[in-house]
């Protein structure tokens, strides 16, 4: 918890209108999109002490400087529409919500870039650009609600990624506020930033202690380290401005084909990807399509395995691609569905959540799997999740990987069963990795996959920079770089209580069962009077303290890895019960 003085000073830095420490705000900002099993909230403490909504990069810098000085953890946040725990606090502190920095600063038609505040919503940006005859090359399927900075921090692929790559490929330059309050441009920062040079060479805009800003420092050209900040979940610095690639707004032609079987659909996907350049290539499995049918969002098609392939470009280019598409669909015995259906599926690209009505809860999971292994992967899923109701969709990116997304139908009101069901999300990712895939996004829950996700070299660089600029791990702790659990106070107390009671009970039982053994070897453990019971309780309490200490240094990823096995078992037991 922060002190009253700290809250006042923070409010002074951010501006009172943009700062809140009221209970209801703190509750709201202690969550992200994921409906976590309720019990998780009892175990983990994700609460924060205050919420700040800075309006300029300078405010962010002052805020970080202050928090560094006062040792306050900081959790940067966009609109919190990712479910990987990237915006959940693990050590308390404050949330810095970037949504007030939502302007379009500059549209550069010569270099085809746009510079925006990190907090702008994708949908809004696209609308504004379309008025200018432009558009972004890729956007997330959560475009109606997610922010540009949020996608940069969380990483991933989306609509347009089949042709133009994921968010990593879209970012040209970033303005980042480092944990010590320095504002840098990542294209100019230089690799030195990551190699431990403590000099001020890379400084772009120096700050002062008085929350005032002096004249600009000198820019020094250096290596482009932009890529190291993408996917970093704001652990290396808070992203305040983003420069993105843009493309001219041209014809968009969605095409939908349906196939009779998985094998045929995957064959067609491979050929379509090889022979044409779709803007967005996406598939829906038959189970998913049936579920969509149940909520009246699936128009009648010949087959139930649906492929949406959208083409973008000049009229002539698009016409050529569409012709090839027809050819490959017919080769696999598929049917090219009507324009009406194609437009429907294209318009539905933002709303996979429609099937939530059938849940009423959905547990999602996402992983990259190479397209060539997709078939075995989907078969493996069928075997592994026998008896579970789930749906899979996938979007293929420019590297030939499928961003496979699963939605497990569930009912969160059945608390135990829902908690146990969490293993499915973890297993979905694990199986994907077994089939040659990689994690989709890191956040908190996937922090154990960081090394394989970023690669040894980059991860090493990021780790070094983190240890240089933020040695105490105050900026978004627990994300990307695995950190220990922060158990809730209630749970800690529970452990202590259980240990205090358990030890005397165990000793009493031992005294009943094997009295001679105890009397022979450890007579002082025999419970004989009130005093000895009291001593046993004290011993229990001490053991409890040790357990609490150990539990609080276990990385969360370790817990999840072990827990998955228990949850799988538990799910089998509790699934049937209402």
């Amino acid at each position: 918890m922060l002190k009253e003085r700290q809250l006042t000073e923070l409010a002074d830095i951010v501006g009172e209108d943009y700062f809140s420490s009221e209970e209801y705000m703190r509750k709201l900002y202690s969550q992200d999109i994921a409906a976590l099993p309720g019990l998780v909230h009892d175990l983990l403490d994700t609460s924060v002490s205050a919420v700040a909504q800075p309006t300029t990069s300078e405010v962010v810098a002052n805020l970080l400087q202050y928090c560094l000085k006062e040792r306050i953890p900081v959790v940067p946040r966009g609109h919190g529409t990712s479910g990987y725990g990237g915006v959940l606090a693990t050590k308390g502190g404050i949330v810095v919500e970037m949504t007030r920095m939502n302007e379009i600063y500059n549209i550069d038609r010569e270099n085809m870039t746009v510079e925006v505040g990190a907090g702008i919503i994708w949908g809004k940006l696209i609308e504004e650009l379309e008025d200018e005859g432009l558009t972004v090359a890729a956007y997330p399927s959560s475009a109606p609600s997610s922010t540009v900075g949020g996608w940069v921090a969380a990483g991933g692929t989306g609509i347009g990624s089949t042709k133009y790559g994921g968010i990593r490929e879209q970012v040209v330059d970033l303005e980042v506020v480092l944990p010590d309050g320095q504002i840098i441009k990542t294209t100019k920062a230089g690799i030195g930033l990551f190699q431990g040079y403590k000099g001020l060479d890379y400084m772009y805009h120096p700050g002062t202690d008085k929350y005032q800003w002096g004249p600009s420092g000198h820019d020094k050209p250096g290596d482009d380290v932009t890529g190291l900040f993408v996917d970093s979940n704001g652990t290396l610095g808070i992203i305040t401005k983003v420069k993105l690639k843009i493309i001219p707004l041209r014809t968009i032609q969605p095409m939908v084909a349906s196939f009779r079987s998985r094998k045929l659909m995957i064959g067609a996907l491979k050929d379509i990807l090889e022979a044409t350049r779709p803007f967005y290539l996406h598939f829906i499995t038959n189970d998913f399509y049936r579920m969509l049918g149940e909520v009246d969002k699936a128009p009648e098609t010949i087959g139930e395995w649906i492929v949406l392939s959208t083409y973008e470009g000049s009229d002539a280019e698009v016409a050529g691609e569409v012709e090839k598409f027809h050819h490959f669909v017919s080769r696999y015995g598929g049917t090219v569905e009507s324009d009406e259906i194609a437009n429907h599926e294209w318009a539905e690209r933002f709303y996979p959540l429609r099937i939530k009505r059938l849940g009423p809860s959905l547990a999602p999971s996402e992983v990259y799997v190479p397209l060539e292994h997709l078939e075995e992967y989907l078969e493996h899923l069928d075997r592994h999740f026998k008896g579970e109701k789930y749906a899979v969709e996938g979007a293929i990116d420019d590297l030939g990987e499928v961003a496979a997304l699963a939605w497990f139908l569930d009912d969160e009101r059945r608390k135990i069963s829902f908690l146990m069901g969490w293993y499915r999300s973890l297993d979905f990712i694990k199986l994907g990795l077994q089939h040659g895939g990689r994690a989709y996004s890191i956040g908190m829950w996937n922090a154990g996959h960081s090394l394989s996700f970023f690669g040894r070299k980059n991860y090493g660089l990021m780790e070094r920079m983190k240890s240089q600029t933020d040695p105490k791990n105050r900026l978004n702790p627990g994300k990307v770089f695995p950190a220990s659990l922060n158990l809730s106070i209630r749970f800690n107390l529970l452990i202590l209580l259980v240990a205090t009671i358990a030890v005397p009970v165990v000793l009493w039982f031992a005294g009943l069962l094997v009295p001679d053994l105890i009397m022979a070897y450890v007579p002082w453990l025999m419970l004989q009077d009130v005093m000895s019971v009291f001593i046993a309780m004290v011993i229990g309490l001490l053991i409890g303290v040790v357990v609490v200490e150990i539990a609080n240094i276990v990385p969360i990823t370790f817990l999840l890895a072990i827990g998955a096995h228990f949850m799988r078992l538990g799910r089998r037991i509790f699934k049937g019960s209402k």
């Binding site: 709201l28 900002y29 202690s30 949504t99 109606p144 933002f350 959540l353 009423p360 608390k415």
Partner: protein, 408 residues
């Protein structure tokens, strides 16, 4: 199963768990645009509600404020991929808050107090309700047609009542009005959750005296009885709020006939559109200006009337009708409804300003609407902004063009 949610907020749990937190509703949310924080949009409020009910937190003022800072404009439901019935839920929360004595927010309770005492939320004298009727207009006591005037037109914007009556007279209809017997339709009370509660008079020294029990059902059934007694078969509305409430809410309180109202309801925009379709309306003069139309939330999204007012406008000779950037189902809210203007006056005007901006962008000289509250709020916004823009309701336009203005 229901024990999972606490007694204080005894909702249908299915409604709350349905929301997927996807936040698609945030972008266009009226209150998010104004307050810019997670607690002030549909999905955020539901999440807030969940954390309160699941963790059994005591309801505090901040929560009440967040729940009441919503204009119930239903843009969220329109955008929601799962169609979570958000407005029903928020009205339900408000109802529960009032029941437990935590609501309504701020001074909204005055509306309820006044409705109990004087049958209108403004606290005006009930016997003056029909004072707006001018001598050269005609009402009758036996017509099948009724005109439900509503409190705002009766007391605050008398010209609307007058214009509507002149319009009906023009078509040879001499409607019945309930006059002193007309009570509030209870729209503001239902929207703010004041379904049933005790009303106290508070003296200056803080002592409270019990006045009586406010019961929305009683007011509604009184109106129903009077309407049925007078043999009214068709009711015309000039107020979108009254229209929405009578059409959608009254059946919940009318127990006879399985809740089917024994009369038809129509908004005057529907009435005019029908007259045009039947060829009974010939405009007497033209309106050679660029005009845009604002869809009132209660008329548009809530009841689904989008076409009728457009049919009327487009039939006017010389008119250049132009749509705003966001129109019909996608129309932006002006911020007047759902108790938002009553509870958050300045914020409501800011909201209207943003909508006004869209109207200005079309280059229109006239902003037409068909709701007394929208008109009121837009006029405030225009005053604040100091811009030139005419705000008219359909009935204003009608009597203007037909030369039906009364004396003075």
């Amino acid at each position: 199963m229901r024990r999972f949610f606490t007694k204080e907020f005894d909702f249908d749990p299915d409604k709350i768990v349905l929301c997927s937190n996807c936040s698609t509703c945030r972008w266009t949310c009226t209150s998010y645009e104004e307050f810019g924080s997670e607690a002030y949009f549909a999905g955020g409020r539901l999440r807030l509600l969940r954390s309160y009910v699941e963790r059994n937190l005591p309801v505090d003022d901040d929560f009440v404020r967040a729940v009441y800072a919503c204009s119930t404009c239903e843009q969220c439901v329109e955008r929601c991929p799962i169609k979570v019935p958000y407005v029903d839920i928020v009205e339900d929360i408000r109802h529960k808050l009032v029941e437990s004595g935590k609501g309504p927010y701020g001074r909204l309770h005055l509306m309820g107090d006044m409705v109990l005492k004087r049958h209108n939320p403004y606290g005006e004298k009930p016997e003056e309700r029909a004072d707006w009727v001018k001598s050269d207009t005609r009402v009758s006591n036996d017509s099948e047609w009724g005109y439900f005037v509503g409190c705002t037109a009766s007391f605050k914007r008398k010209e609307i009542g007058d214009a509507t009556l002149r319009m009906l007279n023009y078509f040879g209809i001499e409607p019945q009005i309930l006059g002193e017997e007309e009570f509030c339709c209870c729209s503001p009370l239902i929207r703010t959750g004041q379904i049933e509660r005790d009303v106290y008079d508070e003296a200056e020294d803080g002592t409270k005296t019990y006045v009586g029990r406010l019961n929305v059902g009683e007011k509604i059934n009184h109106n129903m009885e009077k309407i049925i007694e007078r043999g009214i078969k068709h009711i015309i509305f000039s107020c979108s709020g009254c229209f929405r409430t009578v059409t959608l809410d009254w059946p919940n309180y009318y127990r006879a006939r399985g809740g089917i109202l024994p009369f038809t309801t129509q908004h005057l925009s529907q009435f005019l559109a029908l007259k045009i379709k039947q060829g009974e309306l010939e405009w007497k003069s033209s309106y050679p200006e660029r005009v845009t139309y604002h869809d009132p939330c209660h008329l548009g999204r809530h009841v689904g009337i989008f076409d009728a007012p457009r049919v009327v406008l487009e039939s006017i000779p010389g008119i250049e009708f132009i749509e705003m950037d966001r129109a019909r189902e996608d129309a932006k809210c002006c911020g007047a409804g759902g108790g938002f203007k009553a509870g958050f006056g300045d914020n409501a005007i800011n909201t209207a300003e943003r909508r006004l901006e869209m109207a200005i962008d079309t280059g229109a000289s006239t902003l037409v609407s068909s709701c007394v509250f929208c008109k009121l709020n837009f006029m405030d916004a225009i005053k604040k902004r100091g811009v030139e823009m005419k705000v008219l309701n359909l009935e204003d336009l009608f009597i203007d063009l037909m030369g039906l203005q009364g004396p003075g």
